[in-house]
Amino acid sequence: MEQQTVIQTQNLDLTFKTNDGPVHALKGIDLSIERGEFVSFIGPSGCGKTTLLRVIADLEKPTGGTIEVNGMTPEEARKKRAYGYVFQAAALYPWRTIGANIALPLEVMGIEKAKREELVKKNLELVNLDGFANKFPWQLSGGMQQRASIARALSFDPDMLLMDEPFGALDEIVRDYLNEQLLDLWAKTKKTVVFVTHSIPEAVFLSTKIVVMSPRPGRIHEIIDCDLGDNRTLDIRETPRFIEIAHQVREGLKLGHADDE
């Protein structure tokens, strides 16, 4: 596949003004993400991984450096609906059924009813939730709710999927299952995925590229290629190559912390 850069940052900086003085959340971030990649940001809390994702999504404004998303500013990209965003919690609207929740972005974008229904059905099938369109969120388990929120992010067929610790609140069994499903989905849709996590196995299992970040100020410590190939299954986690990459990530995280002392 032809290489095409979808996200490009140069010397990106972000300082939050707080009552306790300025907080340097991101410092000198240089990063490029190619179309179709699955990139994970990993690091301890306070390393700015979520902030970086939010800058890409135009939910935060950087205070220095440059960033381009699809060759545009993040704001222009957001207005062109370049990405679907999945939050830490499912954030489904409790007064809407699952189907209506998935239709929400489509309604906002003014897509007509028949087309909406078709897209809702298609995306429910994509996350294996067919038959749940008329249920309310509280009638679903946490894992199912998060799948519904992924279907919502995919409903308008954006190029990119930005995911902020989407499985962080779920137990490990559900998380494993959803990781497999997510890889499956990624293979089917060929979307660029940017994924924030604090779990090493999750990052190694899912990613083609792992961005190891370190805190205070939030910066990139190391970028690790994760060349485990396509069609991964959970068994891959027993292989030497997997363990090797996981070790490399762990060492990176440790060093990132060390130069903090």
Binding site: A57, R78, F87, P94, W95, T97
Partner: protein, 301 residues
């Protein structure tokens, strides 16, 4: 939401509602009778002393519950009065309590509707405009620190001077009281969506009106009904207060006023009971509507 009670409907109702509420009611009635005797006894003793007769304790107690103009009428006297002025009177009669209740109810409902509308409008303005947020809220709070008894006569007089009389002035007083809880409750309700829910709309590049109709408004519905429950009860207070300064000839307020002019304590008390029953019924109706709306919206109450 499925009912988790193990008891069936009636047993549960008996256990959870009837017995506790009944016990309190019984306690109140007993206290009421005690006070009836204590408060009305001096009059009876006075009468006996004037007539130079001895009065037995039993006779004294019986008499205190049968006075025509007691200081505190006995519960059964009020009950009889209510029965006579509701069931035994034509609704069109000026002495029918139902007629008077209806007069008050109509201005209560009009004032409540106007107050709810005004409250919602103010809340929408406050939430969407920093200028309104800074400038309106202090005035809204100040408006409620002025005693309604001081404002009511002026409202009636001013509106009368420009040719508006009857239902509307009373409704305006109800509105003056009832917009407040709705404005405050809806301001909170419209600001209640989580940051994540708002961020989500931002990622869709939703307009302000889309954020309002698809997020802020539905999120505020439970707050709306809670504040409407308070608003409907004080709307009734407003309507009754509005009937006092004009010496209105109809309405529960008029019954209270004429009762106090002529020392008809039984009439006062029956009007009071009617007013409190009406308030309870109104709050219950709003509560039921609120529950059914939130249930239909999928938000289990």
């Amino acid at each position: 939401m499925p009912m988790t009670s193990s008891r069936d409907g009636f047993a549960a109702f008996l256990h959870d509602r009837l017995i506790p509420i009944g016990t309190v009611l019984l306690g109140i009635l007993m206290l009421w009778y005690v006070f009836t005797v204590v408060l009305n006894a001096p009059f009876e003793r006075d009468q006996a002393a004037r007539a130079d007769t001895e009065i037995s304790t039993t006779q004294l107690i019986t008499n205190t519950m049968m006075q025509k103009r007691p200081i505190l009428p006995a519960p059964h006297q009020v009950a009889v009065e209510i029965w006579e002025t509701t069931v035994e009177k034509k609704i069109t009669s000026k002495r029918s309590l139902i007629y008077h209740t209806w007069v008050t109810l109509s201005s209560t409902l009009l004032g409540f509707a106007m107050g709810t509308g005004l409250g919602i409008l103010l809340a929408v303005g406050i939430v969407h405009s920093r200028v309104l947020d800074k400038s309106l809220m202090p005035w809204i709070i100040t408006s409620q620190t002025i005693p309604i008894l001081a404002i009511a006569p002026m409202v009636i007089v001013v509106l009368n001077a420009i040719g508006i009389s009857g239902l509307l002035p009373k409704a305006v007083i109800s509105m003056y009281l009832s917009f407040f809880p709705v404005a405050v409750g809806m301001e909170k309700g419209l600001r209640s969506p989580e940051v994540m829910h708002l961020d989500l709309m931002h990622t869709y590049n939703a307009s302000r009106s889309q954020v309002f109709w698809k997020l802020r408004w539905p999120a505020s519905v439970p707050f709306l009904f809670t504040s409407m429950k308070v608003a409907v009860a004080i709307s009734l207070v407003g309507a009754i207060v509005g009937e006092l300064p004009t010496g209105a000839s109809a309405g529960l307020g008029a019954r209270l006023l004429s009762g106090s002019y002529y020392g008809q304590t039984i009439q006062i008390w029956s009007a009071l009971i009617a007013a409190s029953l009406l308030a309870a019924a109104l709050v219950m109706v709003i509560d039921l509507i609120g529950r059914s709306v939130t249930r239909r919206m999928g938000m289990a109450a």
